[in-house]
Amino acid sequence: MTKEVIIEKCMAFFTEEFEVDGSKISNDANLRETLDLDSLDYVDLVVVIESNFGFKVKGEDFVNIHTFDDFYNYCFTKIQEKAKEVA
């Protein structure tokens, strides 16, 4: 899965699940502030990631995710890791 496809999928669930105006989402924007995430919203984020991308998320994974770009890179890396495991 390319990073572009990941971004496309993420945009879909950001706008649908978190009801965020897509125009507010940019690579440098702060993920938590833009999506207005509280602690339980992170649970939602974990569930949509796991169901869309098929890898397991650990709570501590979010420590280093600040911007949307961080988030896309995280998903990309985890998907690559999973693909290697399967292969």
Binding site: S39, L40, V43, D44, V46, V47, V48
Partner: protein
């Protein structure tokens, strides 16, 4: 197609909970560890209420087994969400604490406390996302009052009571309720070896309770009628302790 998962559902209070929730129209996932024969009896009793009854054989204290069974259900059965979780699995290995071996201490804690955690973390995650759910933890008078000869059991149930209150506060804003039911002396296999005549003299209602009397409260807490009750512990003990 809503489902209730009842841990330790093959016998006693667990079986009564399965039947009660089935009477309320819920399909039932019956967890048990080893007794196939009793689990099948529960399954038949649930099916007789006209709902689905699925046996789930796994040890709640084994995280990998829980992940496989419960996580697998949540992942693959998207149209059959678990909307009610009854954490009932528990064991007792009584002894004076100074004579208690470490295995008995750990085993009782593992089943009640780790079992609660391993199962709930998966089910509640899904409930949070779906903004719907009821969690009822079957604890004990022993966890409220403390009973001599049961320091391990008292500690394990006390821990689950505290976890009930904490979890209820974590997920309340998503409309999920988390409560506990604390039975006193109930006629089950667990109390079969106790001196009933001597003990019931201490109980204001002068008798042991029936498993169904506990299940009725579990059913209430799992119902819409209890929509504004959370972080609560309801005793079902004939007035023995309040």
């Amino acid at each position: 197609m809503s489902y209730a998962l009842v841990t330790g559902g093959s016998r006693g209070i667990g079986r009564a909970c399965c039947i009660k929730l089935a009477e309320m129209g819920l399909n039932i996932l019956i967890n048990y560890t080893s007794n196939d024969e009793e689990a099948k009896k529960t399954q038949e009793a649930v099916k007789a209420k006209g709902v689905d009854a699925v046996l789930m054989k796994f040890d709640v204290s084994n995280m990998e087994a829980v992940d496989k069974a419960v996580g697998g259900w949540i992942e693959t059965q998207k149209d059959k969400p678990i909307t009610v979780l009854v954490n009932n699995a528990g064991i007792n290995k009584d002894n004076l604490m100074v004579l208690m071996n470490p295995e008995d201490w750990h085993r009782v804690m593992d089943v009640a406390v780790n079992g609660f955690y391993f199962v709930s973390r998966l089910v509640v995650k899904d409930m949070v996302h779906k903004r719907k759910g009821r969690v009822v933890n079957v604890v004990s008078l022993s966890g409220l009052k403390g009973l001599p000869g049961q320091t391990n059991y008292s500690a394990s149930k006390g821990a689950v009571i505290a976890a009930t209150k904490a979890l209820a506060q974590e997920v309340g804003k998503r409309g999920i309720t988390v409560n506990a039911v604390a039975p006193g002396f109930i006629k089950t296999d667990m109390t079969a070896g106790l001196p009933e005549a001597q003990l019931k003299a201490m109980i204001p209602m002068q008798r042991f309770g029936e498993a169904e009397e506990v299940a009725n409260v579990v059913g209430f807490l799992a119902s819409d009628a209890a929509s504004y009750i959370t972080a609560e512990v309801i005793s079902v003990n004939g007035g023995l302790y309040s």
